[in-house]
């Protein structure tokens, strides 16, 4: 048994595909490329951290409503003179933002404490 026969057969097959109709080859190539690009996108979405903040997933309907959506990309004047009224305008917007930020959760409420998640042995037993 020699390796020449299977190798020649493979070469003939490749030759036949290369010289045959191009449409199946092009379609296969397109599908492989699409799968590859989709794989890269999903990996990017998962590993890049975007998935953690994606509220468009099912089950996040209520949270979606709580996200502020009226943010427009505001542009600021960077060339006019710095006057007292310009600084006052700046401070007005700045203070408004501070007020908004104070209205959001600040991650310091002990939401994961044993009592909060009812893992306190006494409170847990009392609820049983």
């Amino acid at each position: 048994m020699s390796f020449a026969a299977p190798f020649a057969m493979l070469r003939r097959r490749v030759h036949r595909v290369a010289n045959g109709p191009k449409l199946p080859l092009a379609l296969t190539g397109a599908i492989i490329l699409a799968l590859l690009l989709a794989g890269v996108s999903v990996a990017w979405y998962s590993l890049g951290g975007s998935s953690k903040l994606d509220l468009s997933r099912p089950g996040y309907e209520r949270e979606r409503a709580e996200v502020r959506t009226n943010d427009s990309q505001k542009t600021y004047d960077t060339t006019s003179p710095v006057t007292a009224s310009a600084i006052d305008d700046f401070l007005k917007e700045y203070d408004g933002r501070v007020k908004e930020l104070n209205g959001y959760g600040n991650f310091s409420d002990g939401a994961l404490d044993d009592n909060a998640i009812q893992l306190n042995v006494q409170s847990g037993n009392s609820t049983q």
């Binding site: 996040y60 700045y94 959001y104 600040n106 404490d113 893992l119």
Partner: protein, 175 residues
């Protein structure tokens, strides 16, 4: 005589190694110090409701993270524009520039800390708390610590924003 000295040194080394490893063991055991058998039973019993509670916390925190992230971005754009305006008018404001850099770093750190915390919650969701209650509680403790770090970073950003405001008010008074 020489053999006795060598033996003493060896015994001393062994004692030192035992002491170091014991300290390590104590340090490793520390996070589970609160985990009593009763608590392990409680985790098994309340497994489903615990998973649900963590899911709700994760959802609520994601909203805070997104809203804060957007406001921080907008605030950074606003302060950078004011710094540029000072620079365009040939006014030196090194303290404002330094505070802006600090703010940017603090916001970046806030994002990184949140990612870490969120990964903890995802890890907890993957663990079956009925069969592995100890592993589950260890991850909850880790998530708790990481959430505290996120909260601390929020305080740092708030503090820097306050300092920036005070510095701007000083420039206004000087005009």
């Amino acid at each position: 005589m020489i053999y006795r000295s060598i033996t003493r040194v060896l015994v001393g080394l062994v004692a030192l190694m035992v002491a170091v490893f014991s300290m390590g063991a104590i340090a490793w055991a520390e996070p589970d110090a609160e985990l009593t058998p009763e608590k392990i039973d409680l985790i098994r019993q309340r497994c489903s409701s615990l998973q649900f509670a963590l899911q709700q916390i994760e959802k609520r925190d994601a909203v805070s993270r997104i809203n804060r992230g957007r406001d921080y971005d907008q605030m950074l754009r606003q302060v950078s524009a004011l710094n540029s305006r000072f620079a365009y008018n040939k006014l030196s404001v090194p303290d404002l520039i330094q505070l802006t850099n600090d703010l940017q770093s603090a916001v970046d750190r806030f994002r990184a800390d949140y990612d870490k915390y969120d990964t903890d919650l995802s890890d907890a969701a993957k663990i079956d708390c009925k069969t592995k209650p100890i592993d589950y509680y260890t991850i909850i403790q880790r998530a708790r610590d990481d959430r505290t770090m996120v909260g601390d970073q929020v305080k740092v950003v708030n503090d820097l924003m306050g300092q920036y405001r005070a510095a701007v008010v000083n420039y206004r008074s000087a005009q």
